[in-house]
Point group: C2
Chain length 173, copies 2
Amino acid sequence: MNFRVRAATKEDCKDISRMITELAVYENMPDQVEISHKELERDGFCQNPFFQCLVAEVPEEQKSKEGFTVVGYALYFYTYSTWRGRSVYLEDLYVMPEFRGNGMGKGLLCKVAEVGKKEECVRLQLSVLDWNTPSRDFYAAKGAQDLTVSEGWHFIRFDGQNLDNLANEAPKD
Amino acid sequence: MNFRVRAATKEDCKDISRMITELAVYENMPDQVEISHKELERDGFCQNPFFQCLVAEVPEEQKSKEGFTVVGYALYFYTYSTWRGRSVYLEDLYVMPEFRGNGMGKGLLCKVAEVGKKEECVRLQLSVLDWNTPSRDFYAAKGAQDLTVSEGWHFIRFDGQNLDNLANEAPKD
């Protein structure tokens, strides 16, 4: 199957938004998606964008059953290690089910690695759910370390009222 | 004890670099630090900085035994949730041992939350090692969720030759 991996444009945000919802359905959490293509357009295509995105695109004659040609995406951003420096973090990697098994997921992942290397990043990081064995196996086969298993790193989150409480207790300038 | 939390400047990078090493010693991994104040100056104080930093500063008359007045730091950057949007990620939070117990760590954390809220972030996230009970208890007491425990998120990393291999397999444009 022919496909091309390219940088997303503002015009891709409706396709990306559609696939974000499809991925949330796969992760059994469809009601968690609260942002639309409008927030993606605002946050990804401003002067200091909060994220970067690649899309996988097929030719018109290979479009999906519903008529889509943008059939996969990789959304990422830059982070920083105070030990090693610049890193790239892959937030989402998704390929529509009918296009899987064609190297598109690997193509997106490798392209993020290539872009990261060009920016002098020394790490590519991501998170995966423990029950998602296909993804965990895929990353492990490519040489990834599971730092939660090997070093004991846990993910911590403040949101909602807890985040507001912290902000309200900030020292005054 | 009087202290002030303020945005770091380029001139603070030597102090930040010193404290990054002190934190790595606490985490039992001192030989992991490969970046110096020069990389911090380059990556944190450019046009699209890879990180932001706050420092905690005490008056001259309360300086540390070795003569330091910049005695704590919080290094963070912006990330993005495709479900909820803008987030802030706290990479490092550190206060020198002789200045602990004075609310400085909490002050730094709350200031990051405040800065994040001003940027319309809906989450503050961070990672913690499973054996670091004082930190885990501190975050839990402030309402943080441990997503590794509650949802099963694992941290995955590619680096070194594995990252090079991915980049080398990227599809051609």
